[in-house]
Symmetry: C2
Subunit: 218 residues, 2 copies
């Protein structure tokens, strides 16, 4: 019974997400859905990314949070159009919530839309929002077993940013084992090691993002 209800919700979401995707495709806008646990560095990555894309791409941001607009305020400082979605308790964004933000952004002025999802390694993976790519962040402090324990997010992501590599000397994290677990779950996953604190590895990430977004721009 409960399973049935959940399936209905997921199917209804697929329809809306597809309509969102069509909306963005007509306008040549590339959409990124950024996912990861609380505290893994989603907003920091977004800040470093906005610094590097400045002047080259017209970026828009949708910030998903359960409560507060802290992240949106952090991001608005970078001078990009930013909309905050408060999910009111829900643990993920869905297609309908993202659509609710359509009236708040001028999409004629945006080439690349980054949506920061609610901090959660589980549910956001189940709900499409109309994105071209899902990208997940995981930090080395979270442990190397996560691909096995939370497989869906690794499966649906195009790329994985392994963050906080500056902390590797201080934590027990076996990089090779992590890579083998992640690739076992998703052999096509693009894994990039980064540190939002030191900037290490971010060029590689920006290259990947720009290449993906260029494919969408007609």
């Amino acid at each position: 019974m409960e399973v049935k209800v959940v399936r209905d919700i997921l199917e209804a979401n697929e329809v809306i997400a597809r309509q969102n995707w069509d909306f963005f495709a007509e306008r040549g806008i590339y959409v990124l859905n950024l996912m990861g646990s609380p505290g893994t560095g989603k907003t920091s990555l977004l800040e470093r990314t906005l610094e590097r894309l400045k002047g080259r791409w017209r970026v828009g941001v949708i910030e998903g949070d359960i409560a507060t607009s802290q992240d949106a305020e952090r991001i608005a400082r970078y001078g990009v159009p930013t909309v905050q979605i408060n999910t009111g308790g829900a643990c993920h964004l869905d297609g309908n919530m993202v659509r609710g933000a359509f009236g708040e952004l001028d999409f004629d002025q945006i080439d690349l839309l980054i949506v920061e999802n609610v901090g959660n390694l589980v549910c956001p993976a189940e709900f499409r929002i109309g994105e071209d790519d899902k990208v997940m962040i995981l930090s080395v402090t979270e442990g190397e077993d996560k691909p096995l324990k939370y497989p869906l997010m690794f499966q649906v992501s195009s790329a994985l940013l392994l963050n906080k590599i500056d902390l590797l000397p201080y934590v027990d994290f076996d990089l090779e084992r992590f890579r083998s677990y992640a690739l076992k779950v998703n052999p096509r996953l693009q894994i990039m090691e980064i540190s939002c604190k030191t900037g290490e590895g971010l060029e590689c990430w920006i290259d990947w993002l720009e290449e993906r977004a260029s494919g969408k721009r007609g």
Copy 2:
């Protein structure tokens, strides 16, 4: 519409959770619901706790995971009765899942039941399972703003274990600010600073847990 469905699920869960609580109360069993993000140290805390309770309490463990039985295998090494619940994709345990484990444990031989929830800072806070206390773990690598961004889990928890304090020299984490945020959200929250790696602060945690569990034992 969707809100209505969610409310029905939560209400049905409350009924089952209350029945679970009665079941445990009749047997004088104290039940702890352990929650926190993926990788924050729930299983490590459980291991350190089992070492310290050995010979003093008859402990049982229920391990909640989306997939795999890795954690249950880690815990079974400590010689305590352990049941694995695989949620099959669901991002939290609920009362009914915990009830499903009743036949798998001999509750005449258990005084203290520890339930390790799915790694998630959001949804587990909404679903009672029949516990006496919810306890959450957060590690200093997750950032000091989390009480404001994920308030519900802080509100429903009796105690918060701030883990990985051995990493404090290497991360930006303002302890005083964190405390003030957490206590703003829940003024009665018992905050304990610990390191499962070095053992720092664990005596304080064990004292707290034993005091709580003693109250239940008739």
